[in-house]
């Protein structure tokens, strides 16, 4: 195996494009090294992106926050302005593993690992985040919900790497929330999860909403119908019940020892309601 640690994104792209065999990008390594240990992958080449300075940065620009692909989730948690603007995205990122894992794991890695139960992904989808991908043919911007195509599979092509995740610009009366169900409080993987991102207008009227669910389908899913239900008017019981129903309908979960189809479907609605209430309150709405 060859270990390469380029210092520029362009060099990483060149190395990814020309390397033969099993080629893997190493961000935090909290998934890749586990798969190597288990013998599920035997890389010929590993390209470590952590030496690329621009990928280590959290930047606040005119178009919102950008989070470099090599930024650890603990760094996101320590970033006050990011936490204030995107409490749901940060709480989701900070639910991944232990403090030890937090010191390594990244949201770009969480996204590209393409687990249906990835904690940060529903929050990123609800946030309308975009993955900025660099490749041999230049830059392309892909909505995060379109990155994973199946469990463990992404739409990234040979030579491509996510450079950063772009979060939209924030203003007052906007907030998000992420909740998951796990049998244990810590060190567990979501059985079901829900993320809600809301924008409020005058008098607590919802002017925009995005809802996403995790661990209830082969990939984390956006629930577009939920936007129509939540938009216009305050967050009342009728809206919450309709939200739960539409979330139940969006579920196509597996049946396993961690949760039955019936359980996951039901809990998706429950968590969506709770996350909606939380996001609504955080955005300044009164329930």
């Amino acid at each position: 195996m060859e270990y390469l640690a380029p210092e520029k994104t362009a060099d990483a792209v060149k190395l990814l494009a020309k390397s033969k065999g099993s080629v893997h990008v190493l961000a935090g390594g909290s998934d890749l090294l586990v798969r190597m240990k288990g013998g599920y992958v035997e890389p010929d080449v590993i390209i470590d992106i952590k030496r690329i300075k621009t990928m280590q940065e959290i930047k606040k620009g005119a178009t919102g926050f950008s989070i470099g692909a090599a930024v650890s989730c603990s760094k996101m948690g320590e970033h006050k302005a990011l936490r204030k603007a995107w409490p749901g995205v940060v709480e989701a990122a900070n639910l991944i593993g232990s403090d030890q894992i937090q010191g390594r794991c990244t949201i770009a890695g969480n996204l590209c690992n393409a687990s249906p139960a990835a904690d940060s992904v529903p929050a990123l989808i609800a946030a309308k985040a975009v993955a900025v991908i660099k490749g041999p043919k230049g830059t392309r911007r892909v909505a995060v919900e379109d990155i994973a195509t199946a469990p463990g599979k992404t739409c990234l092509k040979k030579g491509e790497v996510v450079e950063y995740i772009q979060l939209p610009k924030r203003a007052a009366k906007m907030a998000d929330a992420y909740l998951r169900f796990t049998p244990r409080t810590e060190m567990d993987i979501a059985v079901v999860s829900a993320a809600v991102n809301l924008t409020l207008g005058p008098r607590g009227v919802i002017t925009h909403a995005r809802v996403a669910l995790g661990a209830v389908a082969p990939t984390a899913v956006l629930v577009p119908e939920a936007t129509k239900i939540l938009k216009g008017g305050k967050l009342d019981d009728a809206k919450l019940e309709a939200l739960a129903e539409i979330c139940n309908a969006a579920c196509r979960p597996i049946d396993d020892k961690r949760g039955t189809i019936q359980f996951r479907t039901h809990v998706a609605g429950v968590l969506a309601k709770r996350a909606a209430r939380l996001a609504y309150t955080r955005a300044g709405g009164k329930l």
Partner: protein
């Protein structure tokens, strides 16, 4: 082909050679002789191999040795001041917060990392901060009590 790595380990400049797919855990144990770093699960679940890497608490089983080039590493071997134990080490002894001891170095490193960020944690905060460390003999009460007691002593010092 092996990779030559130079790192600062517990304050000393140390060079070691390791295989490109070798974990930092294996490199620290087998190449550098830092056997205080323990392997429990090897998959980031148990925290026995906890170290700090440029100040960040990590599982060394989830880091490649080659990634440590130019980085600063702290292991349990660097915790005591000569023959004087770190307050956490002393309190672990006083509270009998260990039995077999395999998990202890990881707990000590994780607890030290917590106390550097928060010198007055609540019991709940200690339990959350140590959630990535597993102990299969003692249970956690004595460990949590030792950490709280060490924090108290360190605040006075």
């Amino acid at each position: 082909m092996s990779v030559l790595v130079s790192s600062i380990i517990n304050g000393d400049n140390i060079e070691f050679a390791c295989e490109p797919d070798e974990t930092l855990l294996d490199a620290l144990r087998d190449r550098v002789g830092m056997t205080g770093v323990k392997e429990g699960c090897g998959t980031g679940d148990c925290g026995a191999c906890s170290i700090t890497l440029d100040g960040a608490l990590v599982c060394s089983c989830l880091v490649l040795g080659a990634e440590a080039e130019g980085r600063s590493i702290e292991t349990v071997e660097g915790m005591s001041d000569g023959n004087v134990l770190h307050p956490l080490q002393q309190k672990f002894l006083e509270h009998a917060a260990l039995q077999c001891g395999i998990c202890t170095p990881g707990f000590l490193i994780a607890a030290k990392s917590l106390l550097e960020k928060n010198n007055d944690p609540t019991e709940e905060e200690v339990r959350y901060a140590l959630a990535g460390n597993l102990c299969r003999c003692t249970g956690y009460d004595k460990i949590v009590r030792a950490v709280l007691d060490a924090a108290k002593q360190m605040r006075k010092a």
